[in-house]
């Protein structure tokens, strides 16, 4: 036997291959090198001017100018602009409505996959499916008769994430059920096999994750955790302003500065 080789033990879980999955891409640079240099210079100028003219501009406007300059510098250094990405996504979304098999959608085909472990048997998971309540505007239906190997599902999301509209989107797929290692329950792998109209991959994955997690909570704990409808005090709208004010106060805390000075002097 080769040294270091561990023979397969029939009692152990069999080794697996990574299931087919198209991973969501991380943000990549979307502005050109020339634009980055120009942006860097521009951002520095704006930031420095905000600092230099803070008396004339007033505290809040000067702070906003410095933050704006900082954002532009960060855009130049990172090479990624979220505004540009948003506009690009919108352009692609328009194309996608015309033809769902073209444009950006193609990179997420043929399937998006998400897994979750549920501490129950396959039969318990199947028997809970019919009572699973709709959560967060997601309607989840099983298509046909589910088996202990595979569940064909269809899902409808009402009110798309971040869309601010009442539009809905439907998509369908398959959930595969696999026995986990001992004491770990059953593993569910959800995949999507239809192109969702009007949704992008992150939205689809969010919906799938929400459905799987709801199912896990429902099967394991007997209910879906929520805080909707609980008591709370007045929700103020100006929390960002409040945070900024507190941050400025914190930065200008004279006691802290005095302490820092004393320590520096001592060391």
């Amino acid at each position: 036997m080769v040294a270091g080789f561990i023979p397969f033990d029939a009692g152990r879980s069999a080794p697996r291959e990574l299931p087919e999955r198209v991973f969501i891409e991380l943000p990549h640079p979307n502005i050109s090198p020339i634009e980055r240099v120009a942006t860097l210079v521009g951002g520095l100028v704006v930031g420095i001017e905000g600092l230099r003219r803070r008396d004339r501009l007033g505290t809040w406007f000067a702070l906003a100018t410095v933050l704006g300059g900082g954002f532009i510098v960060a855009r130049a250094i990172g090479g990624y602009c979220p505004v540009e990405a948003y506009l690009q996504n919108r352009r692609e979304a328009e194309d996608r409505v015309l033809d769902p098999h073209e444009g950006r959608v193609r990179q997420f085909l043929p399937r998006i996959l998400r897994s979750i472990s549920i501490r129950a048997s396959r039969e318990e998971v199947l028997s809970s499916l019919k009572d699973l309540p709709n959560v967060d505007g997601v309607r989840f239906d099983v298509v046909g008769e589910p088996s202990i190997e595979e569940i064909v599902w269809r899902c409808q999301k009402l009110g798309l994430y971040g869309s601010g509209t009442e539009a809905s989107a439907a998509f369908s797929g398959v959930i595969r059920l696999i026995d986990g290692p001992p004491n770990k329950g059953v593993e569910l792998q959800a995949s999507i096999d239809e192109v969702p109209r009007g949704l992008d991959a992150i939205e689809v994955e969010t919906v799938i994750r929400r459905v799987l997690r709801s199912l896990k909570q429902f099967v394991e704990a007997g209910e879906i955790a929520t805080t909707t409808g609980q008591s709370h005090g007045t929700r103020k709208r100006n929390s960002i302003k409040s945070h900024l004010t507190q941050l400025v106060h914190k930065l200008m805390n004279k006691e802290e500065l005095r302490h820092v000075g004393a320590v520096l002097e001592r060391n």
Binding site: R119, K216, I224, T226, S231, H232, V263, N267
Partner: protein, 395 residues
Amino acid sequence: MLALCWNGINSLGLQRVADPGLINPHDAIVRVSLSSVCGSDLHLIDGFVPTMRPGDIIGHEFIGEVVDIGRDVRKLDVGQRVVVSSVIGCGKCFHCEGGEYSLCDNTNPNEAVLDKAYGACTAGIFGHSHAFGGYAGSHAQYIRVPFADYGCTPIPEEISDESALFVSDAFPTGFMAADMCDIQPGDVVAVWGCGGVGQLAIQSAFLMGADRVIAIDRIPERLKLAQVHSRCETLNYEQVDIHEALKELTGGRGPDSCIDAVGMEAEDRGADHVYDKAKNLFLETERGLVLRQAIRSCRKGGTISIVGVYGGLIDKFPMGAAMNKGLRFRMGQMHGQKYAPRLLKHIAAGDVDPSFLLTHKLSLREGPEGYQMFKKKSDQCVRVAFDPWNEPTVH
């Protein structure tokens, strides 16, 4: 009902809010009789935890009386006096069944936040930001307790409210800190922080057979409290070099176990503290002074047990020392449901009485002042508890 709400950084206020009702079948409604401040509340108030919303009711350490139960609650009755664990566990998932209630898979409704930040979602916690579920806290007259069969532990008649209160959070946290050290006879344990959790970690270490415990803090009253109630040795970090002193007190070995009962807002008077405060502005969220001292001081092959709360990123972490000294790290939010029955037995037997921590009992209206007193450690304050029904002037 009346409730103490978070309105912004360093801003708390008493508000009249709707009474809580049963939402899910495993819920109970508890009439709060005492609700304590906790060091981790200060992280919320100081703005170190970014997912707070104005109007959130804070507080997570409390006892009370069950006044209503959901249709699937099996182990509780209306009228029972209970202590409620600050972390919420479903009791059924892989982690809860293993006694790791604070790692529960199912009780945090906002799983996406922690999944993004930490790579996995942990349990919901009462009054502890929306990242940890956004559950309403206990500084109120009533509170909804999800999964009440697991979260509520009935209090034996012979135990007073003041003694039972800290079984909700501080006592199991201190007990778990000592438990994670796997203390052997003859062990020397060092405990950083002599607040509520630290004091009870000291007593728990003795309960588990530690030969000596060395407590570290800078507040003379707290060090004296540790000496008087726990008969331990003490070190004031403003007066001695902690590393040198611990070596001296342990024959050059260092403590067998080091407990961090301080967490992210550690303080000192040296250059390290200035370094951390400067980096706090943009580059890190935690001040890791205690961890650095503990790693440096712990004996080779010893254990670092962390129960002081950390939330984000830490800098200047001495990984080289930790690795080459072969240290063992244990940490986590406490698993209150697992420890509560055992701790109540210890209290009933007279082994420990945590009520010595309760130095001030105030009304909810006095909440902001109570937190200031707790934060500044003024008036020899160790813990403030609010009695939500002591509000004679409110209409």
